[in-house]
């Protein structure tokens, strides 16, 4: 078990921030990034993984007071944006909710039945996709929405729309869905 002192929580360097903002802009467009940037700065918690947080100024002040008076670093703060893995950025489930609201692309809407199955970790067939925003290309990351526009998680496009034949093709592979909270505890 890592000791409290092994935790480090600090402002992200320019390279890390660049990876995060660049990835989000590529997947979901500028509006999301602009919105997030008004809410705080990127911080990194280096525990077992490099976890990425968006921390507003009011919290930064308390994080600094905590460190100065007790020597303690937070386990987490603000909005959990995701983590860095092998140099790449993996977005978090809580971020998906904001993506659904602000993304200009990278959204896929599915039928009620497919939405339920997706929450159990299943992939999406082309016939269950009822709409999408932005061009979908093989390999691109998308947020999956149910018919009410609620974000259910992330998938990767494995077949672009021109390759779809109804009901027969796996179009989006499940990357992480909200069922994760039950299966793994988030």
């Amino acid at each position: 078990m890592p000791s409290e002192k092994a935790l480090r929580f600090g402002r992200a360097d320019a390279r890390t921030a660049g990876i995060v903002w660049g990835s989000l802009e590529r997947w979901f467009g500028q509006r999301l990034v602009r919105t997030l940037k008004t809410r705080g700065e990127i911080y990194v918690s280096s525990n077992r993984w490099a976890e990425i947080y968006l921390v507003p100024p009011v919290q930064v002040e308390l994080v600094e007071l905590l460190a100065a008076s007790t020597g303690l670093h937070p386990y987490s703060a603000g909005l959990f944006l995701g983590y860095l893995e092998r140099g790449g950025y993996k977005p978090s489930l809580p971020l998906a909710h904001l993506v659904a609201r602000y993304a200009e692309r990278g959204l896929v809407t599915v039928s009620e039945k497919a939405a339920s199955l997706f929450l159990y970790g299943r992939d999406l067939f082309s016939g269950s996709i009822t709409g999408y925003r932005g061009p979908l290309e093989r390999g691109s990351l998308v947020v999956v929405l149910n018919p009410r526009g609620e974000a259910l998680g992330y998938g990767v496009v494995v077949a672009a729309p021109h390759e779809w034949s109804p009901g027969s093709v796996v179009a989006v592979k499940n990357v992480r869905d909200l069922g994760w909270y039950l299966r793994r505890g988030g």
């Binding site: 008076s69 987490s76 959990f80 809580p94 909710h97 929450l119 039950l182």
Partner: protein, 327 residues
Amino acid sequence: MREEERLFSVKPSKYAVKLARRYGYLPYMIERYAEIFGEELIDFLDACEKPLPRSIRCNTLRISCNLLVERLEAKGFRLRRIPWAPHGFWVEGGSVSLGATEEYLLGYYYIQGAASMLPAYILDPQPGERVLDMAAAPGGKTTQLAQLMGDTGVILAVDISRERVRALRSHLNRMGVTNTIIVRTDARRLAAMGPTFDRVLLDAPCTGEGVIPLDPSRKRSRALEDILQMTRLQEELLEAASAVTKPGGHIVYTTCSIAPEENEYVVSRVLERHPELTVVEPKVEVGLPGITSFRGVRFDPRVSRCRRLYPHKHGTEGFVICLLRKH
């Protein structure tokens, strides 16, 4: 005889031993309950034999309560408002587990005991304030504080357990809470921060004497000595809470134990050392007054302003809640 000796040396009567055998308790517990409940003792013991009604708190950070009720009722659940909890509902029926619905995964509600919703309402945190939650995991009360603050200001949520901190973060993420900093540590260490917080919630670690309807093993799992040890930790935590509260700020001290030793006694002892603290009458219309004397020990009379909830009286887990103000 010293106060502590009087409180922590219990000789059960024959009647207590007989009842303890019948209901499966350790005799010292029944002896104490006889003093707490008097003629209602059997009512209390019978109520602890029955499961508690399930309850949820709707998360207005993500959905309106009316819409949530509509969606859950369409799935076969029946919801009834909890009179003292503006966002609380008792839930019956339903063919799927309450912890596995799409609405749960979307963070639209938290499965929370009805009585455990009260401390956050009593603390009454305001948008923009700085709040400390000293024993925060798994996060029912933390997410409720964030909801009441409209996810603004800042909550410092502390817990000592690594596993429980993971659960806390998971619930914050699921429920869309972003105004919270989590720290894994012994909350007593935070005293070094000085008077920093507008409000402090201390849902103190306790022996769980109020949750017997949920955990019947508690009838036999803790000795009186365990309660004594727990009161020492509770006092130290309340001391730390006092140290970090701004003048004019509020502290809620609460436990899911009905033991007067873990509640009114702890608060009385801290009041003795801290003239700047007082107990304030909470603005809630539920609960019985705090106990002012027990086993011949007189507590600070101001602890009568604490609130006690019981399974046989309120249909909830046993809970004690005290609201303190720092001058």
